[in-house]
């Protein structure tokens, strides 16, 4: 026991570690080596697709490091992102890199209750990242904003809901990376060869037998919440009473499973790319030796999951409806517009819908943003209520159509939250009352 294996480094990795490509890459490699050794990995894999939150800062970080607007990017990237004791000049990223959600929507900052200084800080941070070659996608759904990895591609992504989508739906390969590892990978194109980068670690260990009809987005969210709580960070394979889910159902299922547990990959037999058959999903070793234990998801489990999600709500009077967790796809915005068109939401209620800049650009062009605004709501980008810790002033009771957001928002903001369908939520926005029902 004791320490793990020593790293096997390639010549180019060794050159970076020895400082031949500058101080920043040296610091990045030092961090990646410490990280790989902590994991017990003995080598790196090359990655050309990194998604993180490089160099972003808050007043707390700026004050802590005594940074100014002029040097903030180098200071925060060095000291926090690369965990370096020394400030180094941070070069442009060397591989395809994008910025996930964060900061303040420059169009709706006042609605979000942001101060002008917060907007300015967000914009300065964004401009610095952009000038270093980082694509500013500002979303938790990069796969809906132009970053769609291909099967087998090695990625280094943050954002648990995007990670589970990347592995499960796209068949690309990423662990749940963190801010520091993604920022280091952006400079070096390296990430530890561990976990989901290796074939042997992508097989299912738990079998979920779905014995109640799972069809709507809400159904998939509840199933994901149950699966995450049940298997924790293991890999489930699901069989049973569901049809082929679309992108939105995958998005809500995976996000929920990655919140109640730590699910980073799942298999749906005959549907997801590495689960052509049950045997493919569990792998040869497992299917020869013994089949995984079967866990049943039936009516009772579905109802218990619904009750758990709604356990943080008591008052039926709703003053805030939040949709778009993970960030809304265009189809979801269309559905919201169909439910809202020609109506006004309750004067006692706010409706905020969160999406990516890419999707809002289309929503703007199609007139959806206007429909939402005319109904009294707002279509907001870059952040969400949980990430931005932004809710309308005086909010006591929220209504949500995302199991993930229901998991986080009451804990973070100290409010009540109802969970239901998108239709239940829009109904609550229109009437100011929660009338959602247990399935």
């Amino acid at each position: 026991m004791g320490s793990g294996p020593t790293m096997r480094l390639t010549d180019s990795e060794r050159a970076m570690l020895d400082g031949h490509e500058g101080k920043a890459k040296r610091k990045a490699m030092e961090l990646l080596v410490r990280y790989a050794q902590a994991l017990g990995a003995d080598r790196f894999v090359d990655t050309h697709n990194v998604a993180g939150v490089p160099g972003s800062y808050s007043p707390l970080l700026l004050n802590y490091y005594n940074a100014t607007a002029e040097n903030a990017y180098d200071v925060i990237y060095s000291r926090f992102d690369l965990d370096s004791d020394e400030v180094v000049e941070v070069p442009r990223v060397t591989v395809s890199s994008c910025h996930l959600q964060g900061g303040v929507d420059p169009e709706n900052w006042q609605t979000l209750g942001a101060k002008p200084e917060a907007l300015q800080m967000s914009q300065e941070s964004e401009a610095a990242a952009a000038s270093h070659g980082i694509r500013i996608l500002k979303t938790c759904t990069p796969y809906l904003a132009g970053n769609v990895p291909v099967k087998g591609e090695h990625c280094a992504w943050m954002e648990s809901s995007a990670v589970v989508y990347c592995n499960s739906v796209l068949g690309a390969r990423t662990n749940t990376e963190g801010r520091e590892s993604t920022s280091a990978a952006m400079l070096t194109g390296k990430i530890p060869d561990w976990g989901f980068h290796r074939d042997a670690n992508r097989f299912a260990s738990h079998h979920i037998s779905v014995e109640v009809d799972v069809d709507s987005v809400m159904d998939w969210g509840m199933l994901g919440y149950f699966v995450g709580a049940t298997v924790q960070e293991r890999i489930p394979v699901l069989t049973g009473r569901f049809n082929r889910p679309d992108l939105i159902r995958h998005k809500h299922f995976g996000a929920a499973a990655a919140s109640s547990g730590g699910v980073e990959m799942y298999h749906l037999v005959g549907i997801t790319p590495e689960a052509g058959t049950f045997e493919m999903a569990v792998g040869q070793a497992m299917s020869n030796r013994c089949r995984p234990e079967v866990i049943t998801y039936g009516k009772a489990e579905q109802q218990r999951t619904y009750d758990e999600l709604n356990s943080k709500a008591r008052d039926r009077s709703v003053d805030y409806v939040m949709l778009g967790c993970p960030h809304a796809a265009l189809e979801q915005i269309e559905e919201i517009c169909r439910l809202l068109e020609g109506k006004r939401i309750s004067t006692h209620c706010n409706l905020w819908i969160f999406t990516s800049r890419a999707v809002r650009a289309v929503a703007d062009a199609k007139g959806y943003t206007r429909i939402i605004r005319a109904a009294g709501g707002a279509l907001i980008t870059d952040t969400c209520s949980a990430i931005g810790q932004a809710i309308p002033p005086g909010t006591r009771v929220a209504a949500l159509d995302s199991a993930k957001q229901t998991h986080y928002l009451p804990a973070i903001m100290g409010i009540q939250a109802w969970f239901g369908s998108t239709r239940d939520c829009i109904e609550a926005a229109l009437t100011g009352r929660w009338n959602g029902a247990r399935p």
Partner: protein
């Protein structure tokens, strides 16, 4: 009344320290599960909800939830609310990176389950350079050991 138990594991982050154990059988969420200003667990149904791990030897199954895990625990180092050490069972990228940037002695892959052997209030000596943990059982919860 006190007795000593020794556990051996694998070094995640080296270093030596000692302190009072805070043990939970629940995995811990970083972002959205911990307030980094106080080191307090805030997750709604967590058995340690409302308790702080500041200066404790945190003994837990592992990390779960958001990819912000490492950044939140990194913040606890900056705010001075980090645990003194981490002993855990389940290796994940979240906890590995979090331990590295928190720079606290951390050990995993134990020869005995630390969740069974160690109880909240035990005094724990962590030698992460040698991947050894010495648990002094039956010390008072007031933390007057050392």
């Amino acid at each position: 009344m006190s007795s000593t138990v020794t556990l051996r594991g694998r070094t995640v982050v080296g270093g030596c320290t000692e302190g009072e154990a805070l043990v939970t059988r629940d995995t811990i969420s970083g972002w959205g599960g911990v307030n980094p200003m106080s080191g307090t667990i805030i997750e709604t149904r967590h058995e340690l909800r409302g308790q702080s791990f500041k200066d404790k030897v945190l003994v837990f199954p592992g990390a779960k939830g958001s990819s912000g895990w490492s950044a939140v625990f990194h913040m606890t180092r900056l705010t001075g609310t980090a645990p003194k050490a981490m002993l855990f069972n389940e290796m994940t990228t979240k906890i590995a990176l979090g331990a590295v940037v928190m720079r606290v002695p951390s050990i995993t892959d134990f020869d005995q389950d630390p969740l069974t052997v160690i109880e909240t209030g035990d005094w724990v000596k962590v030698d992460a350079d040698r991947a050894l943990v010495e648990v002094i059982k039956g010390r008072s919860r007031s933390g007057q050991g050392g």
